[in-house]
């Protein structure tokens, strides 16, 4: 009986431990970063969603919370003035390793967290993204200007957003601080694996405190249609045309009935 009770206690303890967010970085506390929800479903009625993040950090730390999507290479058309008069697309610009989503919430102004070099090292902030995007070559004025244009494009789509004071701190007596933030996922969101990272900064030095995966996946009709379009493109196209034809003719028929007896 005693052995059975011990087993139950052990199993319960294991289940409780397993239910907690798992540490991925040495030295992080188990409750450093908790997301609610940890999975986001892209159903037919998805139109953006708030993911609540909270946890604890060493007292006195300034915090930065980053939610980033898969990194991808981007080829964009760039506009230039031609003949001193017309703005036309002239060639392409290439950026490497640009995250599909980049939401940054901080507990203070970014410039007060750490030096630009320290932020770049941790990949926190837009200058860090630029350093990664232009690669090994030294950033010239042209590439810096074009990266600023990319930022404007992504910000307009709400795929890049920076919110100073988006992380709220609450000091606790036992020497840790409780923090919370709301990550606002945009309406334009691709399915995939996203990662949320928590960075702590003290006296200009920063380190990764915790990270947590955020899974975004399509469900229901959205998943079925997306899969059909990808795997059976020709059939999907023919079906789309037939349905459009039927809808057009049916409406014509219905309106035709309604107008009988007219002029």
């Amino acid at each position: 009986m005693r052995g059975f009770t011990n087993n139950v206690i052990l199993a319960t303890t294991y289940l409780l431990w397993a239910a907690l967010p798992q540490p991925a970085v040495a030295g992080e506390t188990a409750t450093a970063l908790c997301l609610r929800p940890r999975e986001v479903s892209l159903g037919i009625h998805y139109h953006g969603r708030v993911v609540h993040a909270e946890g604890t950090a060493p007292a006195g730390d300034k915090l930065a919370l980053v939610c980033a999507g898969r990194r991808e290479d981007l080829r964009l058309k760039k506009k230039e003035k031609v003949l001193g008069l017309l703005w036309l697309n002239r060639g392409e610009v290439h950026f490497a390793s640009v995250p599909s989503l980049y939401l940054l919430d901080t507990s203070d102004e970014l410039s007060r967290l750490a030096s630009p070099e320290a932020l770049n090292r941790l990949g926190v902030g837009c200058p860090a993204l630029e350093a990664a995007a232009v690669g090994a070559r030294p950033p010239d004025q042209q590439s810096h200007r074009l990266f600023a244009e990319l930022l404007k494009l992504k910000q307009r789509e709400k795929l890049f957003a920076v919110s100073a004071h988006g992380v709220l701190l609450q000091e606790r007596p036992e020497g840790v601080e409780h923090w919370s933030a709301d990550l606002r996922l945009p309406t334009k969101l691709a399915p995939g694996d996203y990662e949320v990272r928590l960075f702590g900064f003290q006296q200009g030095q920063g380190k990764l405190l915790a990270r947590q995966a955020l899974e975004v996946r399509q469900v229901g009709a959205v998943a079925a249609i997306h899969s059909f379009a990808r795997k059976q493109g020709l059939l999907y196209g023919i079906g789309a045309v037939l349905i459009a034809l039927a809808a057009g003719v049916l409406t014509g028929f219905v309106f035709g009935l309604g107008s009988k007896g007219g002029h």
Binding site: H45, G252, G256
Partner: protein, 307 residues
Amino acid sequence: MSLWIYLPVAGNAVHLLLLLGMGAVVGFLSGLFGVGGGFLMTPLLIMMGIQPTIAAASDSNQIVAASASGTYAHARAGSVDFKMGALLLGGGLAGGSAGVFLIKALRGLGQADLFISATYVVMLGGIGSYMLHDSLKEIRGKVRVQVAETRPSAFARLVNSLPCKMDFPRSKVRHSVLMPLGLGVLVGVLSAIMGVGGGFIMVPVMIYLLRMPMHVVVGTSLFQILFTCANVTVLQAAVNHTVDFVLALVLLIGSVVGAQLGAKVNKRLRAEQLKILMAIIVLVVMVKMLLGFLLTPDILVSYAGGH
């Protein structure tokens, strides 16, 4: 109940009522003037955050519905010249393929965008101005009656000299088969260069070069747009996977209703009134495009694809 809808292929959520409204407005123009409306709808979708390639391909899908609805309404009224439409369509498909190769060659020379922009402004400006001028003359009643002794123009003499004459009873004209075929090729080339369905080029071509009556022009234009866009939709879905059917479905619900209303209004307006309205729309689009080339853009980079 949420009025937002997530688009599976575009990967974006949009407001249902906004899409329905856009579909209705563009469908109305389609039924009224016999244009597909791609020149209006695609930029609107891009402004809503839809990727350009998906906006253009899905718009083609909804144009199938709007043009089917409009063609049905016009066919019931006896205002579709199927024979003329089929010849124009044949020429258009051949011209479209030639235009794609022409653009590829120009891209190789690095001059494609300049050429496309110049074509847009010149075509739209020329067509719009001519239609406006002609319609205003008609409305003011200053059209001079053609006298029998008037020497026919060089174009008229060329047209008359072409072989393989055929009657087009629905349009009440007699032309060489080469005329609609050749003009179809021309419009097909221009459509491929400009990246649009070609309705707003085809309509003036039918009015001024084929001398078809305005009410037959609209129905016949919709008839050939129907096939062009069906072809584009299937190809885009099969090759590029860029057709978002949910987006097209919502747009087409609005557009088929709009197309019916447009066709009804079309029957109530006089030909010169229709021409003047069409001319104004073509000129507005031309001015918008011209401003787009002249004014400094808000953002100097853009995603590849689209019209």
